[in-house]
């Protein structure tokens, strides 16, 4: 990478996180940019209850065929390394969903619930070991989740189809402790992490936050996204302090 290009990239990242290139060069040994993919599980108690209610209101003997299983999780982060710890910012996205379904020769009823979750936040970790396989860190994420839940109802009866639906939103705060291992290969790095997120959710609402969703049984509902987070990622050191010449 040309020096000009590195200077531009470091300046952009440090500007993004509110530090100057000079300060970055003064305090941090290295700055990494990385992306990762992984797998996330979700508790989703409230939405599972909504599914049960939908099932009970079906005119026929339907079935819950899909109930918010674990799914892929994607993210990216910029971290600043000192000799024994790192801090940084991250953002990411995950999703899951559910379905209640009935079909026979005369038609079908499908009730889908798709949950999309965008998150961002801060990350910090402390090195607890340095092995031949790589450095091992323990740390935590502090995250904000922006959730959207899309309800879609579709019916096909005697070859006549109809679909309707609506969307709900909510906000979660989460704490996600994790253990991470990474290994460098020159300016590149490979990392893997395992963790669990604890969520503190707000009630689902329609477009207006004051207009909360109330289920048929009269309850408010949340996106309970608590669950395990497992991921692997690759990164690139966009800045590395040069060792002082002796």
């Amino acid at each position: 990478m040309s020096r000009l290009y590195k200077t531009i990239l470091i300046s952009a990242i440090t500007a993004l996180i509110g530090v100057t290139e000079a300060s970055a060069q003064r305090y941090w040994q290295r700055i990494d940019v990385s992306v990762s993919a992984g797998y996330a599980t979700f508790r989703m108690d409230d939405l599972k209850a909504v599914q049960e209610e939908d099932l009970s209101y079906m005119p026929v003997e339907g079935e819950i065929t899909n109930s918010f299983p674990g799914y892929l999780n994607f993210g990216g982060e910029v971290v600043f390394y000192d000799s024994t710890y790192f801090v940084g910012v991250l953002l990411g996205h995950t999703s899951t969903g559910g379905r209640v379904h009935y079909a026979d020769y005369s038609g079908s009823i499908t009730m889908d619930q798709l949950v999309k979750m965008d998150y961002n936040g801060l990350v910090g970790a402390y090195r607890i070991a340095s092995t031949k396989a790589g450095n091992i860190f323990i740390g935590t994420n502090l995250l904000t989740y922006l959730n959207r839940v899309e309800f879609t109802y579709s019916q096909t009866l005697l070859e006549q189809s109809s679909t309707s639906g609506f969307e709900l939103k909510s906000l979660n705060f989460a704490v996600g402790p994790f253990v991470q291992i990474y290994k460098r290969f020159g300016k590149f790095l490979v990392k893997g992490n395992v963790g669990y997120e604890f969520h503190f959710g707000m009630d689902l609402f329609y477009d207006d936050p004051d207009q909360k969703y109330i289920s048929s049984s009269g309850e408010y509902a949340k996106v309970n996204a608590d669950g395990f987070r497992v991921g692997i990622g690759v990164g690139y050191a966009v800045y590395t302090r040069r060792p002082k010449s002796k």
């Binding site: 999703s95 379905r99 009935y102």
Partner: protein, 610 residues
């Protein structure tokens, strides 16, 4: 650099790859099948005959499928709907022409597959069935009543058979002649559904006047009714007589000829008698009843006898009744003026006549009543109510009037003379004389002027006590006068004191002046006028109208009506200390001529004291 761009691009692609809900729950259901589903009219062939409005009954087989609709169409027009598997709809035909029409039944049931479409009400099975409806709204022809006659103790009604093709029933209406309102009133209505049945035995008839109507019904059409009246008079004519030594009455009435319809004779008393006893006789041949009338002299009561036939269905009882003549003790007697406190009627044994004051219309009359026939023989008009003075030997009859007395011939009831006594009192008085007359025409008098004993034959004053107003009474022979409490005896020139009575309410000379009865309210002393000694004392119940009857030799009077209920009549003999008989009476009864007498009625004392 290329690798970084490639990594970011891959990330963005992955970033857009959201979860997609999946899964299918396909349930295998049977296809709709109309096999075994049917609808039909109940108990009807392919052609239905309708007479007037009709109830169209249908039934269906649905193989447990829910019925969504049943619809009935006449000539393509919907006239009835239902949602039951088996029910009925009504066909109103007044605006339809007589003749045959097409009837279509349409049954719509759910498919019963349990599919989504069935559950959404969009999958159904439709069954149709066609019939022919023939309508006939013409009015049926009437039938005539052929006979009404008594048969085997009941009443049989017969009529012509109806030949209506669509016959439904005969309607029989019975109307009875109400004895009270004197008009026919419907008693019962009966329908007979069998056209072959053309007679009816009426178990509700026991006699009298009845009217039957027979009409023919076909659908909602009814023929004109043919009517016939039947009369078989049944007068119960209840009569009564005294039996069992006048203790009971025996009631007799007429038997009904309709013995098979008979249920009971009911005997009760007239409402005004306040006797609510009712007797029932259930043997049609038993037409007598002996009962205690519980009838105090001189009250009256009538008996009502009702003959009841059977009651059918929920209709009211039909019956025939009759009233007896009034039942009373004794015989009729002229009405005269008296009450429970005072009765001035007189029986004179010598003449064998009663004398009393009667009010006849607007006239007050002295009447003489034959003691054998109890009929008024003669009357003499009076001016106002007066005292009657009659000597025991029946020779002297005087009526107090004004300042003197009229003398009337007791045999001919003709006026003899007027004796003006105003001279006894001067110009200041002389009215309201009270007195008694002896067999020798001596008159003992009293009023405010004093006491006098006059000899009306010699027109002289025998003795007087001016301005001393005391009760005074002369004995039948004229030998004694009781003035106040003093007993005076005639010594050929004067009445001189021979004894004292004490306080008395009434003095009654008896046995040719041998004795006098001194009524002292609580008792009667029998005083011997020869010895002036009380021979006997009879204890009295406090009473009124105490009389001594020389014919029977008994004393009698009624108890105080306000202190004794029921009012009693007491009988005493001159030899017993207490009453010998008491019995209830209903009015101011007095004892005379061995009889009990009251205005309107008389009975022999034997009825109570044989």
């Amino acid at each position: 650099m290329k690798s970084i761009v490639l990594a970011i691009a891959s990330f963005l692609i992955l970033f857009s790859c959201d979860y997609e809900p999946a899964g299918e729950n396909f349930v295998v259901r049977p296809q709709p099948d109309a096999t075994g589903v049917s609808v039909e009219l109940t108990d009807t062939s392919d052609t239905l005959y309708v007479l007037g409005n009709a109830e169209i009954r249908y039934s269906s087989i649905t193989q447990n499928r829910p019925v969504l609709w049943f619809r009935a169409y006449l000539n393509g027009e919907l006239f009835g709907t239902h949602n039951q598997q088996s029910a009925s709809v009504f066909l109103y035909t007044p605006n339809l022409s007589d003749g045959c029409h097409s009837l279509r039944l349409e049954l719509i049931v759910s498919s019963g597959t349990g599919s989504l479409a069935e559950r959404q009400g969009q999958e159904e099975i439709r069954i149709e069935r066609d019939y022919v409806v023939c309508i006939d709204n013409s009015r049926p022809d009437p039938v005539e009543i052929t006979s009404i006659r008594r048969v085997d103790g009941t009443l049989e009604l017969a009529w012509e058979k109806s030949n209506e093709r669509f016959f439904k029933y005969y309607t029989i209406v019975k109307s009875s002649f109400n004895q009270a309102s004197q008009q026919f009133e419907i008693h019962w209505i009966k329908d007979i559904n069998d056209s072959e049945t053309i007679s009816l035995r009426d178990s509700t008839f026991v006699g009298g006047q009845v009217k039957y109507s027979v009409s023919v019904g076909a659908a909602n059409q009814q023929s004109e009714g043919s009517e016939k009246t039947f009369v078989d008079p049944y007068e119960l004519n209840p009569t009564w007589e005294w039996v069992d030594n006048n203790n009971n009455i025996k009631l007799t009435w007429r038997r009904t000829k309709y013995y098979k319809n008979f249920t009971s004779y009911s005997i009760s008393f007239s409402y005004s008698s306040f006797d609510d006893r009712t007797f029932s006789v259930t043997n049609v041949d038993d037409t007598t009843l002996t009962l205690d009338p519980q009838l105090p002299f001189p009250s009256t009561k009538a008996l009502t006898v009702i003959t009841y036939p059977f009651v059918i269905d929920n209709f009211h009882h039909e019956y025939v009744y009759g009233h007896s003549d009034n039942i009373y003790i004794g015989k009729d007697f002229p009405w005269y003026r008296a009450d429970i406190y005072e009765d001035k009627s007189i029986y004179n044994e010598t003449l064998d006549k009663y004398f009393a004051i009667a009010l006849t219309g607007f006239k007050t009359e002295l009447v003489k009543i034959n003691a054998q026939t109890n009929e008024i023989e003669q009357s003499y008009e009076l001016i106002g109510i007066s005292d009657i003075l009659l000597s025991n030997n029946g020779q002297y009859l005087y009526i107090a009037a004004g300042s003197g007395f009229f003398q009337i011939d007791p045999m001919t009831f003709t006026f003899l003379q007027y004796i003006d006594l105003s001279a006894l009192c001067g110009s200041s008085g002389g009215y309201n004389w009270k007195g008694s007359i002896s067999d020798n025409n001596r008159l003992a008098l009293t009023n405010g002027c004093g006491n006098f004993v006059l000899d009306l034959t010699g027109h002289s004053i025998l003795q007087q006590w001016p301005f001393e107003q005391k009760s005074i009474e002369i004995s039948p022979s004229g030998a004694f006068v009781i003035r106040g409490n003093e007993i005076l005896k005639w010594n050929s020139s004067n009445y001189v004191s021979v004894g004292n009575t004490g306080n008395t309410r009434q003095r009654i000379f008896i046995q040719n002046d041998a004795k006098v009865l001194l009524d002292k309210s609580s008792h009667v002393d029998v005083l011997n006028l020869t010895t002036m000694a009380v021979e006997h004392t009879i204890t009295l119940d406090k009473g009124y109208n105490l009389r001594y009857d020389p014919v029977s030799g008994l004393l009698g009077g009624i108890t105080d009506p306000f202190t004794s209920q029921p009012r009693l009549f007491n009988l005493y003999t001159l030899t017993s200390n207490e009453k010998v008989k008491e019995f209830p009476v209903a009015g101011g009864v007095v004892l005379m001529n061995n009889s009990l007498v009251t205005p309107g009625y008389i009975t022999s004392l034997d009825h109570y004291y044989p």
